[in-house]
């Protein structure tokens, strides 16, 4: 026995030098480890090579430097006064080198998910972890464990511990069923995702940012979008911060039980922002506005120009859509005929928003009328022309006035409609135009130009000239009279 101990110590010293890079802090294994007598339990094993059941009291081993739990690869290795002892049968001693990679990987994971992982802080977790390791390194020899019962009556007291550790190990690489999914939701709303793989317990209970919260509730992940959000939600696996040590008594060296990379479970969340645009029509002077139903808008992606959706306002004048991040442009294509359409409305959805409410108020279409009265022949403006403007549908007089010195009448903000102009008094020297001149106001902000031309009336003298030949007649009468008189005198003389 002494020979064996000496041999083990020598080997341990040699291995220590070789594996110094493995960050074994102590000069010797013995200096590094100690027995924690607060953790003791009974274990029933079979003697190696026999069928006799042996009861031994096991104790927890820790590393001095950090109290990290140490698990023995070999069953029933004992430290007596800080010295490795108790190797029952050197021939059956298991060395790490005899274990397959799969076995070593599993041992490392068992140690990782065992005592010290998450809420695994009670001694039972240490006992169960050690027993699971021995079940791999010494299959068939480990039979049962008890806390302090000398009767060694088998029980299922540790079955739940075994099951949980094994489950964690088995699911070490398993991700939640919604891993990598893209989930669409609306800012301000909450959705619940159920993990059908049942591995949510591996992760810390929740994350919370300014944009969202994601909390694990049993097998469900409850996500609440506080604002608009587009991105990943990362769930971080719980870690065993007190990393355990694997101890191989035969070779007197320690190995890290492994450092499984903390897993991240992510899913992509598109928390859209609810957009509500409400359209009203009314009169800015009275301040009375009424929701406009049936107004139709086209929503475009401002960056690509692509039509996203055609929206129609409801009875409340509202149109609703949930939008992801981006720039948008709202363009009205239909509405009450006599009222203005909105100017294209551009807006941006960002992570700072929980909702967007926009109100659109529009008044009646109005345009300015510029009426000009000009000379038909010269196009010069004609002042002082009295005109009247009537509603073409009702014949109601809406305006009466005279042209200014330049022949202009400017009427601001004439409302949508059909009208006609009548000339009531033409300027002096011009003919009254009896025709109705129609015009319509159909678009807002236009300048409607209406020109009425009057033709000039010139004063003309009487241009008929009849020559009655008065002088010729008088002359002829005089001649005839003279001849007549002469003949009469001649006859009378005879």
């Amino acid at each position: 026995m002494r020979k064996n101990i000496t041999k083990i110590l020598l080997i341990a010293l040699a291995i220590f030098n070789v594996f110094a890079f493995m960050k074994v802090n102590a000069q010797t294994i013995q200096d590094e480890l100690f027995i924690d007598y607060d953790y003791q339990w009974w274990v029933a094993t079979y003697n190696w090579g026999t069928t006799d059941r042996v009861k031994t009291q096991e104790k927890m081993i820790r590393r001095k430097s950090d109290n990290a739990p140490v698990y023995c690869i070999q069953a029933d290795i004992k430290l007596i006064s800080g010295v490795v002892n108790g190797i029952v049968d050197e021939d059956t001693m298991v060395s790490m080198t005899n274990l397959s990679k799969e076995q070593m990987d599993r041992i490392r994971l068992i140690a990782y998910y065992g005592y010290g992982y998450g809420s695994h802080t009670s001694p039972e977790w240490y006992y169960a972890t050690q027993m699971l390791i021995w079940q791999i390194t010494n299959p068939g020899y480990i039979y049962a464990i008890e806390d302090n019962d000398s009767t060694l009556t088998p029980s299922n007291r540790y079955d739940s511990y075994y099951a949980e550790i094994n489950s964690l190990v088995d699911n070490h690489t398993t991700q939640p069923s919604f891993y990598g999914q893209k989930v669409e939701m609306t800012a301000g709303n909450t959705i619940t995702l159920t993990d059908t793989n049942g591995v949510l317990s591996k992760y810390y209970e929740g994350v919370e940012t300014d944009n969202y919260s994601a909390n694990i509730d049993g097998n469900n992940l409850v996500i609440t979008a506080k604002t608009g959000y587009e991105g990943e939600i990362m769930l971080t696996t719980k870690e065993n911060t007190n990393r355990p040590i694997l101890y191989e008594g035969a070779n007197q060296y320690c190995l890290s039980a492994g450092d499984p990379v903390a897993g991240l479970a992510y899913l992509e969340i598109y928390a859209n922002v609810p957009f509500t645009g409400t359209k009203y029509y009314g009169n800015e002077n009275t301040g009375v506005y009424i929701p406009e139903q049936g107004a139709v808008f086209e929503l475009y992606d401002e960056s690509t120009g692509e039509l996203i959706e055609t929206l129609t306002t409801d009875a409340d004048g509202a149109m609703n859509i949930n939008l992801g991040f981006g720039k948008y442009r709202l363009h009205q294509i239909k509405g009450i005929e006599s009222y203005k359409f909105i100017e294209d409305y551009t807006f941006e959805v960002t992570a700072t928003q929980t909702k967007i409410n926009v109100m659109f108020k529009n008044e009646k279409i109005k345009s300015d009328l510029i009426f000009t009265k000009t000379d038909f022949s010269t196009d010069l403006g004609l002042p002082n022309t009295l005109i009247e403007i009537y509603d073409a549908n009702t014949d109601e007089l809406v305006f009466s006035g005279r042209t200014d010195e330049d022949g202009y009448i400017i009427i601001k903000n004439m409302e949508y409609g059909d009208y006609y102009i009548l000339e009531k008094e033409a300027p002096e020297g011009y003919e009254l135009n009896p025709d109705r001149m129609y015009f319509s106001i159909t678009e807002d902000g236009q300048i409607i130009k209406v020109n009425m031309k009057d033709s000039r009336i010139v004063e003309v003298p009487d241009t008929s000239s009849i020559d009655y030949h008065i002088f010729e007649i008088i002359g002829c009468i005089a001649i005839i009279s003279g001849v007549g008189m002469y003949v009469y005198v001649k006859k009378k003389k005879k």
Binding site: R456, S465, Y486
Partner: protein, 218 residues
């Protein structure tokens, strides 16, 4: 006594007969004189017109300072223009088709009278005014002064000329229409043309005819 009375009566009859003979001869002479004077007067007018037209063309180069628009004439009606003082023409109208060639007096001339000449109307522009309208009125009918009596023979496309300030303006007839004789006539002319408008009466009707000529742009 009887014989003396008879001789006295015969002497009275002879004297009366002689007076009647002289009176009849006077009547014949006066009648012939009236007719001759009238035709002589009209002949003189023709000669005077011809002479003035000749003078107009001869003096074309001297009238450059003539007012070019009626506005200046209206603004200073009391100021007699050079044409007014010497009673010369400011322009001449020629319509070859009806063998008409007649001078035009300035707007303020006492001779600018439709009963004497072709009359330039107050609303008229001079021919050199862009897109203006040179408006003339003249008599139709049987009188000596019925210078426009043959306008009715004109057809669309016929030409008329205005000589004014060393320029010859050629116009083509583009429209003619009738208006009621009310002392006023409606002038319908496009605003983008320079025009010559002639107005005269329609024979035997209470209407006037308006002839619109468009300036031919070279």
């Amino acid at each position: 006594m009887y014989m003396l009375r008879k001789r006295k009566n015969n002497t009275k009859l002879l004297t009366k007969s002689r007076l009647l003979k002289v009176g009849s001869l006077l009547l014949i002479i006066i009648g012939i004189g009236i007719i001759v004077c009238k035709y002589f007067y009209e002949y003189n007018l023709d000669q005077e017109e011809t002479t003035k037209i000749d003078i107009f063309f001869n003096e074309q180069t001297d009238v450059e300072n003539e007012t070019s628009s009626l506005a200046s004439s209206f603004s200073n009606k009391n100021e007699k223009s050079s044409s007014q003082s010497n009673e010369g023409f400011i322009a001449v109208l020629e319509i070859p088709k009806i063998d008409l060639k007649k001078g035009i007096y300035s707007i303020n001339s006492k001779n600018n009278n439709v009963d004497k000449n072709i009359m330039l109307l107050n609303e008229s522009d001079m021919p050199d005014v862009t897109n203006g309208n040179f408006i003339l009125a003249g008599h139709s009918g049987t009188g000596y002064n019925a210078y426009f009596k043959d306008l009715k023979k004109l057809e669309l496309g016929d030409s008329a000329y205005i000589y004014y300030k060393n320029n010859k303006y050629k116009y083509n007839l583009i429209d003619k229409y009738e208006v009621e004789k009310t002392g006023k006539a409606l002038i319908i002319k496009d605003s983008d043309i320079s025009a010559l408008t002639l107005i005269t009466c329609k024979d035997n009707e209470n209407k006037q005819i308006v002839f619109i000529f468009e300036l031919e742009v070279e």
